[in-house]
């Protein structure tokens, strides 16, 4: 039994154990770090099979990803940081049976399937081969990944924005006065500047009139998760 085999099994056990810990620990923040441990073990296991670049990529990427994830986890955490037991599950027994069944099936398949024999040997420069591949014959993959990342950035911002221009100016973007906390004074003043007339002066009470959607006055900006202020109503 070589050192590599021992290292692989140690990493495999660590990965599976911390993967289980994700759904056992009481705090969502701890669950995030358990997931990070599982992913790091996989990244380290990749170093054993000549995947230096991908192993380091997984490690670096997942450290950052899980640190960001921890912030969101703490945002949505239910109980005070694991001081109370957390078990929020539905259909626990069936889920466990299905998961165990899937594991048995997959493991059985892995051992029974006659996998093809190994063809060729890893190139001397594995990372270089990957780089030449995605900049050459696999260029399409790289382009699709790039567009997918761009689309994700745009749609996450759209989804997570509290109020965008369609909320302020209506679906056709033609409201004269934006639906803003405080009656939209700033935008109206811009309008007046543009047209050289004092439209703001025509509505002296504008700033004091609370907008129907926005409660009693200008104290609303920056409020958090009040559902009554959400858009889409």
């Amino acid at each position: 039994m070589t050192l590599q085999v021992i290292a692989f099994w140690a990493l495999a056990v660590a990965s599976v154990a911390s993967g289980m810990a994700v759904f056992i620990v009481d705090s969502m923040a701890r669950a995030t770090f358990a997931l990070l441990a599982s992913l790091l073990s996989v990244g380290l296991a990749f170093l054993l099979i000549d995947l230096e670049y991908l192993g380091v990529l997984v490690i670096l990427m997942m450290v950052m990803e899980m640190l960001i994830m921890a912030v969101f986890m703490i945002m949505y955490m239910m109980n005070p940081a694991g001081l109370m037991p957390m078990k929020m599950v539905h259909n626990d027994r069936a889920a466990m049976v299905i998961a165990a069944g899937v594991f048995v099936l997959l493991a059985l398949g892995a051992f029974v399937t006659p996998w093809p024999r190994r063809r060729g040997r890893p190139p001397a420069d594995v990372t270089g081969a990957l780089g030449l591949s995605i900049m050459g014959p696999k260029m399409l993959v790289m382009m699709v990944i790039g567009v997918a990342i761009l689309a994700t950035m745009i749609s996450t911002v759209v989804l997570a924005t509290h109020r965008g221009r369609y909320d302020r100016y209506g679906d056709a973007l033609e409201a004269r006065r934006p639906v803003d906390p405080g009656g939209g004074r700033l935008a109206v003043r811009d309008d007046r500047d543009r047209h050289g007339e004092d439209r703001y002066g025509d509505h002296p009470g504008g700033a004091q009139q609370p907008h129907p959607d926005h409660g009693p006055g200008p104290s609303s900006p920056g409020h958090g998760h009040d559902p009554s202020h959400g858009h889409g109503h």
């Binding site: 669950a31 599950v89 696999k138």
Partner: protein, 101 residues
């Protein structure tokens, strides 16, 4: 540590993730299960590259795609959770059953 050992690890990670996806009530914990499932896929992809066709870079490219999918899935998932939490104060799967058949 042949192909079988790696595939066994991949199956275990996939099954644990599947348990989380099926059982967790909190949407963010459900996403942790999805991450674990993709983690299993990454292990399997790397193992297939090394043990079946190491001469080509295809397996490596596949792992690269899976790692990207993992990051994008997390970003989109949190954006959706934030949107539904803002609109309806919902962060549990049981309260978001509009599309239940």
């Amino acid at each position: 540590m042949g192909l079988h050992a790696f595939l066994l690890l991949a199956s275990a990670l996939f099954a644990i993730g599947l348990y989380g996806v099926l059982s967790q009530q909190s949407i963010v914990m459900l996403m942790m299960g999805l991450e674990l499932m993709i983690n299993g896929l990454i292990v399997a992809g790397g193992a297939f590259w090394y043990h079946v066709a190491p001469a080509d870079a295809d397996g490596q490219v596949l792992v690269l795609v899976a790692v990207t999918v993992m990051a994008l899935e997390m970003a989109m998932g949190f954006a959706v959770v934030t949107a539904i939490f803002r609109a309806r104060d919902v962060d549990m799967t049981d309260d978001a059953a509009d599309l239940k058949g």
